[in-house]
Symmetry: C2
Subunit: 409 residues, 2 copies
């Protein structure tokens, strides 16, 4: 028996349209405010194209030999450059499997400096890690919508620490934060929840909503054994993960070989369908998340402009600048209060005051720009008109369609 | 499609032979020591026939309508007196379903005073409970080896407290302590782990080794739904039960109706077989437990005799009895030490010294008997010769047979 290749039937162009719209709004209306008021010196760097264009990312984690690399190969329906599959620990590096016009393997050091790729943040982990990182490019329809991150298997104890030139947990955390979905793979045939893996899972607390579990190789055991293994997995996960919401587990055999036992064929097929639907939803969720983050960022840029404009306005024209600046810093809570009342900004939109105080201490307030109300109004227009308009282009979820149809009738 | 009736193919006579042997040893060699040295005034009442003869007991617990009563009916292959089955809360009392020559319903107040039944301890819960307790007797082969305790479903919050004339948790705890197996039933069709039920499960901590879970009505849902329900159950149980050992769950549909969905027929059949094997093992485990407890009891009776004999020997013949008694109590640790050295008793065999001190305070030491070495020697013979001989009559477990065969070859 041979099984069909997996394919994600997404129509995600519309979401990329939304993201493109966001990018234009940012560059024309938000970035000018950030630049004028030195946003990057206080908060975070200006956004580049890669921050918008980055594909939804799926991070694969699991003990060695659970089938992470095979899973990606199966989803792509073909081999990818740099792929190593085998019964021993094989994948020895983090591989970003992503779209490109032709097959190409890009070394980590090179990949981490490319401005159009979302991996520049990895430079701070140094060559110790970058030597163990690479990009695998290939032309695959699925990769037009999703980037996969293949990872080395979690090893036990000593091996883990001694063999590696970087901090596995830190790197995992970096990718987890940026991922749209985290797939935890387990082998039904050889379930092993070691202390190391438990710690890795615990480190994912806070990203619970992104985590999905794959119970792989489920056709290698009898139905009864599968129940025992699956039960043991849920039992252990329930102890480790603090939320009451049960984590979604996809049960099946994610490779292109015939099923070893066909007892649960129907179940595996249904699970595969659900997993594809889940992947299919990533571009939508990813676009939603980007909208959300940009709105948050614009609100912060606004209050930031108010604060710096206000501080600038307090500065004397000629004498006593230094003294005045010291005073302003000392009474920063009062100044924040004035800004809050003058511009009707919610208190929760203000930055952390301790941190802001420290940041102000190295600044020369005369560099600050006066408030440019036109610029702020333009950015406000983004929040109140442009982004809501953009959101209208989001296709409704099936249940929203049903509700809309019902209320129209 | 109709399914065969369940039957436990145990040959448990041999275990009852062991228990009968135990009873004789107790009466002839251990009870005399207990009687002579007032064991019951310090430790626990003399054992009666019912303490030996009580059948292995299976306690059924679960929310209402999960199918507890139906489960028992299915196992028996017939209705039992006092059985009520229905979609609403139906069973409103605890029912001990046990063997008897003919069908008969015995009211709780009457059942709790019968010397040959193991329910006398329930008298302390008063008529508030005994009115809600009864015995259901019938002639069924399975009941020759096992007694089932059917229970009212666990209700939620208010209903639970208001409707009941007794403390449900206390009663459950009483039966759980004495049970050989505790079956927690869940309905796959309507999984509900309420706070009340969670507390009931938590109260079973300490009896973890006896608990088995039954996921009932598993044919009423699709394979995928079953996986979700089962996963959610294990997730929740893993959080409630502190042990890392995964609790055994039997998945199936435990009644005599055709399966609603036959997708998992093979699994359900395998699970049924395993459950029967598990029940089948009860007479053996029950006999083992009784041996174990009697050995512990005899060791305690022995050290108890040494202590009382020793204290008696310290008492003056004529004058100053009261003063001497007070002194002995005051220096009890020294006296324990003397006994330990003289008779070579392990320190861990001694009773709790605070409690023993309190108990001695209401005694008159002149009532104590001097040590009767012959009596002790007879009891020692039970521990060193008679019980090991009895144990030889235990049939070996399959794996033990394999080992024995291998080492004989
Ligand atoms: N669904 C499956 N059923 C049975 N065997 C599988 C399945 N998927 C992969 N395998 C086999 O398991 C072994 C490990 O696979 P793979 O190399 O993909 O695992 P991995 O998780 O990437 O391991 P590593 O952590 O070492 O990179 C290989 O021999 C592969 O053929
Ligand atoms: N295996 C099964 N599959 C489907 N339905 C079942 C099954 N077992 C029992 N039922 C139905 O479920 C309902 C409740 O059964 P039953 O009275 O045995 O439950 P119970 O746990 O004893 O409830 P209570 O706590 O009220 O005594 C009944 O309608 C019964 O026919
Ligand atoms: Mg790999
Ligand atoms: Mg009932």
């Amino acid at each position: 028996m041979s099984r069909g290749k997996a394919r994600v039937e997404a129509k995600p162009e519309v979401f990329y349209g939304v993201v493109d719209g966001l990018k234009k709004l940012y560059k024309s209306k938000i970035m000018p405010v950030e630049q004028t008021y030195l946003f990057h010196e206080f908060h975070s760097p200006l956004l580049g194209d890669s921050d918008f264009d980055a594909k939804p990312t799926v991070l694969l984690l699991g003990q060695y030999s659970v089938g992470k690399t095979t899973f990606i190969q199966y989803m792509l329906g073909r081999d990818f450059p740099g792929q190593h599959i085998g019964p021993e620990p094989t994948t020895d590096r983090f591989i970003a499997v992503m779209h490109g016009p032709e097959d190409r393997l890009i070394p980590g050091n090179a990949l981490a400096v490319q401005a159009d790729k979302p991996f520049r943040g990895l430079q701070r982990f140094g060559t110790g890690f970058l030597n163990k990182f690479c990009g695998s490019q290939l032309a695959s329809p699925l990769l037009e919508n999703i980037t996969f991150i293949d990872t080395p298997g979690v090893l036990s104890g000593e091996k883990q620490r001694i063999g590696r030139t970087y901090d596995f947990a830190q790197i995992t955390e970096w990718f987890a934060e940026r991922a749209d979905m985290i797939l935890l793979l387990f082998d039904a045939h050889k379930l092993d929840i070691s202390d190391e893996f438990r710690r890795a899972i615990e480190a994912l607390n806070g990203h619970d909503d992104k985590v999905r579990v794959v119970l792989n190789k489920a056709d290698m055991v009898s139905s009864q054994q599968l129940m025992r293994v699956y039960g043991a997995l849920m039992w252990a996960l329930g102890k480790v993960i603090k939320t009451p919401e049960v984590m979604r587990v996809y049960i099946g055999s994610f490779w292109d070989q015939p099923l070893h036992s066909t007892e649960n064929q129907k179940l595996f097929e249904d699970e595969m369908t659900d997993l594809l639907t889940d992947l299919h939803g990533l571009p939508r969720n990813n676009a939603m998340r980007k909208v959300n983050e940009l709105v948050k960022r614009a609100r912060l840029a606004k209050v930031h402009a108010f604060i710096l404009g206000h501080l600038r306005a307090q500065m004397p024209a000629v004498f006593g600048k230094e003294k005045k600046q010291k005073q302003l810093i000392k009474h920063l809570p009062d100044e924040f209060n004035k800004v809050r009342l003058q511009y009707q900004v919610p208190a929760s939109d203000f930055p952390n005051i301790q941190r802001f105080t420290q940041q102000l201490e190295v600044q020369d307030f005369t560099r600050f720009q006066k408030l440019n109300q036109k610029m702020i109004d333009d950015m406000d227009h983004v929040l109140s008109v442009d982004i809501p308009n953009l959101l209208k282009r989001f296709p409704l979820e099936p249940e929203q369609v049903a509700v809309a149809a019902a209320s129209a009738a």
